[in-house]
C-alpha cells in the first residue's frame, strides 16, 4: 500500500517566555491510504501538536510532512477535522453546518446537498437536518460534526479526542459508529486520544507517544478484523494489548 501521510524526522519547538519547549522530537510516521491510525499518549506529549501539523494549522521546525506526496498546506481542503467539542455553528441548522467545508469554497450544489443528506442518513440524523445544534444531544452533535468532517471527501479524517466530552455509554456507541463510518467511507483516519481502550478498539495501528519531548516510543499493529463490536472489549487479546500500551506510560512516568 502506498503511504498517504509521510512524516519523517519531524521536529517542533515552541518559543515561550520561559524558554524553548521541545514539543516533538524525531517523529517518523507513515499512514497508508484507508488506514485507521491512533496516536495515544499522556497530556502534554505533543499529540495535539502533531495533529495540528497534519491539519496544516501549525508549522514544524524541522523534518518533512506530506499528504499525498505534497507538503502540507493550510486550507487545501484535504483534511476533515473533528474536535473534542462538536463546534457546530449555533445560528445555522444541522444541514448548513454539515455543508460548511463546501460552502466556504463555493455555493453548494444539489449533489453537495445530497452528499450531506446521505451522511446524515448514515449517522441516523436524517430527521434533524433542519434542527439547530442546541436541539440535539451531545452525542448527536458530535455525529453531525463527523458528517461535516467528511462532506468534502477529504483524504484524511483527523479526530482530536472526539468523544472526550461525552459520557461513557455515548462514547461506546459512538466508537462503534466511527468504526462503521470508517468502513463505509473508506476514509483514512487519524485518532488522537488518551484513552488506550478507545485506541485499541478503533485503530489498525497505534503509535504510542511519550512526553517532553514528544516522540514515538512504540508502534502496535492491532490484529482484529476491520469490523469491530463492543464484544471486543471483553476479548483477552484486547486486554493484553491495552496493558501492553499501559506499561509504556508506567515506564515513562517512573
Amino acid at each position: 500500500m502506498s503511504a498517504l501521510v509521510e512524516l519523517s524526522g519531524l521536529e517542533k519547538t515552541y518559543a515561550t517566555r520561559t524558554g524553548d519547549v521541545h514539543a516533538l522530537s524525531a517523529v517518523d510516521l507513515d499512514i497508508s491510504k484507508g488506514e485507521f491510525v491512533a496516536i495515544v499518549g499522556p497530556s502534554g506529549c505533543g499529540k495535539t501538536t502533531l495533529l495540528k501539523i497534519l491539519a496544516g494549522l501549525e508549522d514544524h521546525t524541522a523534518g518533512t510532512a506530506s499528504i499525498g506526496g505534497h507538503p502540507i498546506r493550510t486550507g487545501n481542503g484535504d483534511v476533515g477535522m473533528v474536535f473534542q467539542k462538536a463546534t457546530l455553528l449555533p445560528w445555522q441548522d444541522i444541514a448548513a453546518n454539515v455543508l460548511l467545508p463546501l460552502s466556504l469554497r463555493r455555493r453548494p450544489t444539489s449533489q453537495d446537498r445530497e452528499k450531506a443528506a446521505a451522511l446524515l442518513r448514515m449517522t441516523d440524523l436524517e430527521g434533524f437536518a433542519r434542527k439547530r445544534p442546541h436541539e440535539l444531544s451531545g452525542g448527536m452533535q458530535q455525529r453531525a460534526a463527523i458528517c461535516r468532517a467528511l462532506v468534502h471527501k477529504p483524504s484524511l479524517l483527523l479526530m482530536d479526542e472526539p468523544f472526550g466530552a461525552l459520557d461513557a455509554m455515548t462514547r461506546d456507541s459512538l466508537n462503534v459508529e466511527v468504526n462503521r463510518i470508517w468502513r463505509e467511507t473508506g476514509t483514512t483516519a487519524v485518532l488522537i486520544t488518551h484513552s488506550i481502550s478507545e485506541a485499541v478498539f478503533l485503530a489498525e495501528r497505534i503509535f504510542v507517544m511519550s512526553a517532553r519531548p514528544g516522540r514515538i516510543v512504540d508502534e502496535i499493529t492491532v490484529p482484529f478484523d476491520r469490523e469491530r463490536s463492543l464484544d471486543l472489549l471483553g476479548d483477552p487479546e484486547f486486554a493484553a494489548l491495552t496493558s501492553r500500551i499501559r506499561t509504556h506510560f508506567e515506564v515513562t512516568h517512573a
Binding site: 483534511v79 477535522m81 463546534t87 466556504l104 469554497r105 439547530r132 442546541h134
Partner: protein, 245 residues
Amino acid sequence: MVGALAVLAVVLILWQILPGALNVPRYVIPPLSEVLVALTDPVAFPRYVQNAAATMTEVGLGLLIGVVLGLALAITLTQLPRVYGIVFPYIVAIESIPKVAIAPLFVIWFGFGLPSKVVVVVLLAFFPVLVNTIHGLRNVDRDLINLFRVNGASRMQIQVRLMIPAAMPQIFSGLELAVANAMIGAIVAEFVGAQQGLGVLILQAQGRMETPAVFALLIILSALGIFLNLFVRLARKWIITWERT
C-alpha cells in the same frame, strides 16, 4: 408579568393618595393626578413632543455613529494584536472616566446646538459597544477558528461568517448599555447648555418650581428609554435565535 403590573398599580395609587394624606407640599411631590394634568396639558403637550423629538434626534444620531465606530474599532483592534496590546490599557483608562463630565468642554468646542449633544452621546454609546464587542470577538472558540482555517476560509469569511455572528450576544449586551448611556448623555448635555430638548424643559420647569411638569417630563423620558431598551431586546431575540432563555 401580572405581579409586576400589580406592583405598578399599587405604586400609582400610593402616589395619588400619600402626598395629600401626609401633607407633602405640592412643589415637593405632587399627586399623580396633577402630574397627569401637566402631562396632557393641551398647551404644553405639543412642546413636549417637539422637544422630545429634538432629544431623540440627538440620541439616535449619537447612537448610530457611536455604535458603528465601536463595532468598526473592535473588529479592527482584534485583528491587530500588537496595536490592541498598546491601545487596550487606554481604552480601560478612558472607560473608567465619568465621560459626562466632559460635556461642558464639548459645549465650548461645538456650541449650544445639535453637534455638542451628538458628540456626548457618541462618546457614551461608543465605549460599551467597543468593550463588549472586543470581549465577544476574543472569546470565539479557537477550534471553530481552526475549523474555518482548515477549510481554507479567507480572513473576510472568518470575520463575516464566524466572528461577528459568534460575538452577537456580547454585541447586544453592549448595545443595551449604549442605549441607556445615550439617554443619559443627551439629557446631561442639554442640562449643560442647549436651546431645546427634554433636558431644557426640565430645567425651565424646575426654574419656575413647576414640579408636576418636571414629573411629567420624567415620565416621557422614562417611556422613551423603556421603548428604546425594548426595541434592542426585541432585535436581540429576533437576530440571536439560538440563544436559550
